[in-house]
Structures are given as C-alpha cells and as structure tokens.
Symmetry: C2
C-alpha cells in the first residue's frame, strides 16, 4: 500500500470555463478508518458533466468549495473494514473524491457483484446505465414506432439511450458534435440518423431528420439544442430532462429557451426532470434487464478509459468539450 495519499484539490472555483489551474495536486497521509468506517482504494474514478455543475452551486448535493478534495464517484476496493457487511477485497461505488484513498462511513456502501470487466460497474451497470434506462423508459415512455432524439448521443448516457430506444422499436436520431461521432453512432450503435450540432442550424436539421416531429427527446445538454428540439416536438411529446451540460462550464445563463411555456401548452408536452437515485426501488430489475441486453449483444458498451490520477483535471475538461465517446473514467489503480 502506498505510504501517501495523492489528492487533487479544487484550488479555486471557476468563474468561467474550467481550466487545469483550478486544480492542484496535494499529498496527505493515509487515513485510518474509525468504527463503522472503511478504508477504500480508488480503482476507477467516474468523470461526469455533473462534476462541473457541482461547482456552480447546490444541485441535488451541496455545492463544492475551493480547497476541498475534488468530489467524484469511483469504483473502489475495500482495504480495511470496521463494518460487518464489508470485507477487504469488496468492490463498492463511493464518493471517494479524486484521491488514492478515502475513509468513508460504511452504512451507505454495498458490495458490488463480481463481473468482468469491472469497468462496466461504472458504465452500463452504474449511474450512466441506470440514468439512460430510467430516464428513457420512465420519463420518456417511448412506444414502438415513435421517434426518439437524444443529445450528447455519443456520451456515456446518450449512447445507451439510443440503443435502448432501438431495442424498444423506435426510430432514433442522435445529436452529437462532429461528423466522426455521427458516423460512429450510425455504424456501430444502430442510430437511424444523426444531427451535428456544430454544423449550423440544429432546429432545421432536426426538422429534416424528424419530419413527423419528435415524440421523445432525451435532453442531456439544455441550451440551444434543447430549444431546437422543443420547436420540433410532436403533439403529446415527452422531454426527459437529464442534464444541461451546455450550461455548466461558465457563468449561469441569463435566459432560458424560447417557446416555454407556450409550446408546452399548445403541443401538450410533458417535461420531466429526474435524478437516478429517485428510482432506487427498481434498480435491481433494471440492472437485470441491462445485463440481459449486454450479454445477448444487443447493447454495446462504449468506455473511454484514461490512465493516471494526475490526468483527472484534463479528463474532465475534455469531457466538457465533448471529446469522449462513451463512458469516460480515469484508472487510478
């Protein structure tokens, strides 16, 4: 076991775009677990757009402060346990933060099933997979033959949303940045069409790709793409509001999308915001269904694994710029 605990500290809260010098590398002593606690070794740290939103203010968790170890969820291994239900070697998902080791109360931690590759516990069987599953099926409620649009379609959640919508018999249009991502989504992930939001008029491009309107829009990005989709919704359409990555990396936006609430009324739309924890009761059933789809080859899992704790700041900044395909994570150990 390493003698020191490398940590990446959020040195300053960003005012505008997140940059490498908002972080600094620090070292701390190896912490020791107290009664009811565990010492965890981080293995893979999950990178998520929400990490940036936490810097803006309170969300479903309290805001981050300058000077704290950067928060983040990780797949971690129990090294020492002072709790009855966990033993050394168990894998857990925990908010370890960006560091080699963390001591956490064990009460809310549960040993994960053993499966290979273990990175799937952070992608398709982790928050990304459950977010795609519950957001699409519970909030979007797609029916076979409907048109589903998903933004950030090449991301960890979007790539799964599109494939699950195909499994459910829908026509699927992805919104992603750049021709290369679009080609990949059609070729490897079965999307019916893609719209490149960097290529110009997204509203017009969506109209062309969805001539009968959008029945379900799974929104990962907010902002202009949200607005473009809103203006193309079919009557009785559903919008699953999952995140707003376009709004996270900068100052808070002054204005919201046009057409609200007018279009919501005239087209009888439903917008539903959700956070994956709201569906904990149905988690096991969802994981079983996801696993069946993965095992049968119907659901492909894209992962983007970067090596080395020190690369976490660059990995997050790159994620916010849309450079990843699939679930981005950093391998720590």
């Amino acid at each position: 076991m390493a003698e020191v605990n490398r940590q990446i500290v959020l040195d300053q809260l960003p005012q505008g775009k997140l940059a490498p010098d908002h972080f600094r590398l620090a070292e701390g002593p190896l912490p020791a677990p107290g009664d009811g606690e565990v010492l965890l070794r981080t293995r893979y740290i999950s990178l998520d757009a929400a990490n940036r939103a936490w810097m803006q203010g309170a969300t479903y968790r309290s805001a981050l402060n300058a000077g704290q170890v950067m928060a983040g969820g990780a797949l971690a291994e129990v090294k020492q346990s002072r709790a009855a239900h966990l033993k050394p070697g168990d894998l857990v998902f925990a908010d370890t933060g960006w560091q080699d080791y963390a001591v956490l109360p064990a009460a809310h931690l549960a040993a994960l099933p053993r499966l290979e590759p273990i990175t799937h516990l952070l992608s398709v069987y982790g928050i990304a997979g459950l977010t795609a599953y519950f957001g699409l099926l519970k909030c979007g409620r797609p029916k076979a033959g409907e048109t589903v649009v998903v933004s950030a379609a090449a991301g960890s959640v979007g790539s799964l949303v599109g494939q699950i919508a195909k499994i459910k018999g829908c026509r699927v249009v992805g919104v992603a940045g750049g021709a290369a991502k679009g080609a990949l989504l059609v070729r490897d992930y079965g999307f019916d069409a893609v719209v490149d939001y960097k290529a110009g008029d997204t509203r017009r491009a969506l109209r062309a790709a969805c001539p009968d309107g959008i029945d379900v829009y799974f929104d990962n990005v907010g902002g202009d793409v949200f607005e473009a989709a809103l203006f193309n919704m079919a009557n009785h359409g559903r919008i699953a509001c999952c995140g707003a990555v376009s709004q996270y990396d900068g100052a808070a936006p002054a204005h919201g999308p046009r057409g609200i609430p007018g279009l919501i009324v005239t087209r009888r739309l439903t917008l539903t915001g959700f956070v994956v924890m709201d569906f904990d009761d149905e988690r096991d059933a969802a994981l079983a269904e996801l696993k069946a789809w993965v095992d049968s080859g119907r659901l492909k899992v894209a992962e983007d694994i970067i090596d080395g704790l020190e690369r976490l700041p660059a990995a997050l900044i790159g994620l916010l710029a849309g450079e990843n395909v699939g679930k981005r994570m950093v391998k720590v150990a």
Copy 2:
C-alpha cells in the same frame, strides 16, 4: 329574428398590443343552413386570453387572418336545424365567432343540458371549469396538505383552481394583480394567501408565502411569474401549463424563463402542457363532480357579464389587461 347579421371583423392582425381599431363592425345577410347544418343565434360569447394567442399564429387551431369574422366560442341557440339530433331552442356551445348568427355543420355540436343560470354553461360547466378541473387534478395531481399556487388567480380558471385545491385539502396561494383582487380571493374564495405580482419582487413574495416550496403550480400566465414560481418549486413539484397570457399581447418574446432545464432536473420537476379537449373522455364525470360542488355551495362561480355585441373588442382588451374577476362573457341576445 333580425334581418341583418352584425359581425365584428378582425380588420388587422396586431403587431404589438391589441387595440380597438384592429376590429371593425360589419353587417352581413342572415345565412341559411344547408343539409346537415344549423342556424345558430349567439347568446353569450366567451372571452378568453386564448383569443389573443390565436392572432399570433397556429396553436391548437390554425391562426386567424385579417378580414375574417373574429373567432370565438359562444353559448348559442339553434334557430333552424337541418340535422336530426338538434331542434330549434336547443342550446349548444359552438365556435360561432363574434356575430349575431352563424351557420355551422351540426355534426360536432351537442345539445347542452338545461340549467339556470345558463351562463354557467360558459363558466364552471364550460371550458373554464373543465380546464381548472383537469389541469389541476390530472397535471397538477395535488395531495392534501400540499401547497398549490395558481396565477391569474382571479380569472375564470384561476378562481376555480384555487377553490378546487381547497376542496382537495391543499394550502392555496393565488397570484393576482392588485390589492383589491387579492382581498377578494381571501375573503370570498377561501384562498390562504395572495401575492400581488404588480407590487414588486414576485419571486421573493412567493418564497415568503410558500416557505416549504410550491408543490403544484398552475400556470396561466407564463413569463416572469412562471419564472418566479419555478425558482420556488419544491422537489418533485408539478407545473400544469395552461396558458401564457403574459406572452400573448405583443410580439413573441425573445427569451424564455431562466432555470430551464437546470431546475427541472435538480428538483425533479414535471411540467405538463394540456388542452382541455384532451380529456373529453372524462368530461361527464368531471361535470358531475363540479355540479355537486356548486350545488353544495363549496364552489363559488364568479362571472363578469358585459352587455352588447359591439363591446366585444373592449371586453377582450380589458381581459388581457386583467380587469375581470371570474369568467368574462358578452351577452349578445
């Protein structure tokens, strides 16, 4: 029967605020019904904020054009019938437009029940009552003990929404313009509190009136009041999007409310737009429940009746300025 058919024509489409000179009075011959049609005498014409929205473009109906008789729903009496299911003397609700007489296909018209006062067929047993009933109960889904906020609270829909929410055991806060309306809502309609949106910071006033947040917001107005409510929603709150009267009387707004979709996600809100026709299947059951509440004195019906066809333009302009309390209509005959 009058020899001529007085008509109010939408002479020009307004670019900014609606004004009397956008209309002109005309006279036409008395129309004659063809096979399957009826000749209707308008009795009471309904004034609705939606009348103004129809001038902006296509909504749930096609846009109005300059030069046509102004559209509008009315309580009308059958004078001549060439359809088997309607006879002279029957009352119907029909889109007669703003004129003394109209000939319409009978296929979609149904004789209304006879009850007194017949104006209730345009208010609590008409679109206003059903809109309040379905919007609150189906989209808002209030539970006893929750806090319900309704805007345009002194209007035809709002005054009923507030009272129905009280019947369902909720705490009710109305948003209305001016101290007089607010006092009336508390004194005569049982509202627990009111916020005067003309008095300043609506967001702060709503926070004070709803310290635990808003569980259900019934939105009739859009714009700044919508935004103020959005920032005060409780987790898992529901917003019933009924209309956006603040947006109708002018050019289309450049920007929407701030906080969308960010707040929708973090507070897990649901926004649902609806149009009352979507609930036609459940209309009879709703009317029976509304009637039981009215008959027992639990639901008070506010009506604002103006006399004379020629006063329709001023009546609509005044409605858009918020001068009415309860359901505004013009008595034609």
